[in-house]
Symmetry: C2
Subunit: 398 residues, 2 copies
DNA sequence: TACTTGGTTGGGAACGTTCCCTATCTGTGG
DNA sequence: CCACAGATAGGGAACGTTCCCAACCAAGTA
């Protein structure tokens, strides 16, 4: 008796063979499967082991209960079992009970892959966000999941880490998982939208929020950035500030442009001249803030107020300014945008624009499901604008 | 000509029928499919519509390219195409190129559901966290995803919202999606672990982190809570504090117990008597903090230091204490645990224990892949303990 | 010539569902 | 008795892969 193992595909399998004479055998004589051994030959390894060390090939296979097992056990057809499990009413009450009971007993779990394969329904939506270090995106996700789970849908979450390539990869994963809808806020470096247009082409609903792609004709959820920015800057003006700087976000994000426009409009309304010198372009990289702030204060005529594109930036600005020994809000008042958790905790607390973050997620999810159910036109390009609120704290008023 | 629509399964389909005479027709005469109409009968609805309003049943079917399409186009078998696409080397170079080119051209996307169905490999791991409002869990997730994507795996993220039922539901989703491994930090109310033991039974690797289940014999990743707590309290003692209170976490979380033990050990080392009165049980619900703090200061002998179970709690405590007009750190010093983002920003900045959060995620993911590849024993109950660091800030030292 | 051998390809079962269509039985009204 | 109906069940194709096994051809090798 000779024992040997060979590598079939990935795993080593063991076999035993009874060889009657001591002689040289041909591969063919040895082989169990005619050609397989040929292929696996290089991996073939003879060795001797005690017989009781052998394990059956099937032994380690953990079998998951299937519809067929239930059918066999109850002597009915798998069609009937399927009918019970999918809630089709055309089943005898007793049969139904028996199936349900046995399913419970055998711990039956529907194989969603088989199901998806035939129905093309995955009951899954996806959401791609640029990060979840700030409290904003997690809150949006909670909103989305609230609505999705009510609709019996799962949510696949992906974060692109503000990296375009990762975003593309995430989109591919979403596609491969056949999400029925996709909610997206793009990275700050995303300028090419092919990976998202692919969804449109396949008629998979997309909804944007926060960082939107204006060129794509799909529904979007935003807050009224223009109005928020306007009121933030108006507040600064009303409290007596004359020279208001702005740390502006990247130009390719419409959100930056809208906030910038709100800023400009407020200045215009109060007849304050616009000075390009104190509108600082900024790429949302938090570690750049220090340099930019120092730059502002090196001007011959430094600003007496700062409107930052978002809260993390404003918070970093506060740190920097405090460390420079400049007084907030007396020497310079600061406003952010978002009302992050931290804003109320720092010293001085940050005046900011709050947005209904969870509501944004819920609204986006609502739209997705309306699209999935064809209640609205996929190309409708609805823009849901949620309102913001000015939260006045100590960074502008003592 | 009569038009009608009937509901087959979920959707209304339209049909047209040429009826030669005006008379009463039997269902059978009308029916297109012998029995189907019988079933759908109750939903049957006759109506007249203009013919050109009709749409073809197949028209809206968007066809996704399959392996078969490629095979047909190139006049080769789907086996060969599959071989190319799975990287099997036994294919002629020209055939390979042709297949790859056509796949590209037709925008072929592998159907992962069909693939999973036959291979039982999903290339997916899951992670369940209690929340992601604090920066802790998001950072862990980033760590996990780093490792997972390197291994070619996708990560399904779920958050239980500190709710036991949601956690169970999440576990079900993970199971249904046939994750190959699961990383978990349980909710504060989880006492029953059946939903996780189910994974063990199916031999799906589990790794715990942070909030672990001590009774389950699986690998775990934790930080040295005992040591961290010890050093935090030691620091308070060394800076001259004599009466150190502790806001202790729920008893069912081992993390709370370990931190409590570290606290007790430090007191013991410095021969400070333990006073049960100032070890306050606390259920991690942030809105309870106010009452508990007030309670502490109503004691005839209030504490001069506070060790809070985690940073959010410590931060809330600082807010409450400040609002009471009590001085930090002179009247009471405060230490947290975690080094959340906010800790360095608030006033006074919080002394705390920092942990290598992203590393925790990476370690957990590493373990999962070692388990998946059977490099370590699934029941080994390895505990990876990562070290912490004391970060001294102004909440303890002016 | 008669084998091996290597390189390449094809046929077809299997994975676990859903669902179309058919079949059978029983009951009912004319 | 017939025609039809309602209730229930079964057979089997289809979904898109993977992969076992067999087959074929050309080139060595004895």
């Amino acid at each position: 008796m000779i024992f040997f193992q060979l590598k079939l595909r990935k795993t080593w399998e063991r076999f035993q063979l009874h060889l009657p004479q001591f002689k040289t055998y041909s591969i063919k004589e040895l082989s169990i499967f005619k050609n397989t051994v040929k292929f696996a030959k290089v991996e073939l390894a003879f060795f001797a082991v005690p017989t009781d060390n052998f394990y059956s090939k099937k032994l380690t296979m953990r079998h998951q209960t299937t519809i067929k097992d239930i059918a066999k056990e109850l002597h009915i057809s798998k069609s009937t079992v399927s009918r019970v499990l999918t809630g089709n009413p055309n089943v005898n009450e007793e049969t139904r009970k028996a199936v349900l009971a046995l399913a419970q007993k055998l711990d039956y779990q529907k194989n969603i892959f088989a199901r998806n394969l035939v129905t093309h329904k995955t009951n899954t939506i996806g959401i791609i966000v640029p990060e979840f270090m700030s409290s904003y995106f997690p809150k949006v996700i909670i909103g989305v999941q609230n609505i999705a789970s009510k609709a019996g849908y799962n949510t696949i979450i992906a974060q692109s880490n503000e990296n375009y390539e990762t975003e593309v990869a995430n989109a591919k994963v979403m596609m491969a998982n056949q999400v029925e809808g996709l909610i997206v806020s793009v990275t700050k470096e995303t300028n090419n939208f092919d990976h998202l247009i692919a969804f449109q082409r396949k008629e998979i609903p997309i909804v944007f929020f926060n960082r939107i792609c204006e060129d794509m004709h799909v529904p979007k959820v935003v807050v009224d950035d223009y109005d928020g920015a306007f009121r933030a800057v108006e507040h600064l003006i009303v409290t007596g500030k004359k020279r208001i700087a702005h740390l502006a976000g990247p130009d390719n994000l419409s959100i930056s442009r809208r906030r910038l426009n709100g800023y400009l409009a407020a200045l215009r309304k109060y007849k304050i001249p616009v000075d390009e010198e104190i509108i600082i372009p900024y790429d949302l990289k938090i570690d750049k803030v220090k340099t930019l702030i120092q730059q502002l204060f090196n001007l011959k005529c430094p600003p007496d107020a700062l409107f930052a594109i978002n809260d993390p930036t404003a918070i970093e600005a506060i740190q920097v300014i405090k460390s420079m020994g400049i007084k907030i809000p007396e020497d310079i008042a600061i406003v952010g945008f978002s009302n992050d958790e931290v804003s109320g905790l720092i010293e001085p607390s940050l005046t900011t624009i709050s947005q209904p973050v969870q509501k944004i997620g819920e609204t986006a999810a609502d739209l997705i499901f309306k699209l999935i159910n064809k209640e609205i036109n996929p190309n409708s390009a609805i823009i849901k604008t949620l309102t913001t609120e000015l939260i006045i704290r100590h960074s502008t008023v003592r």
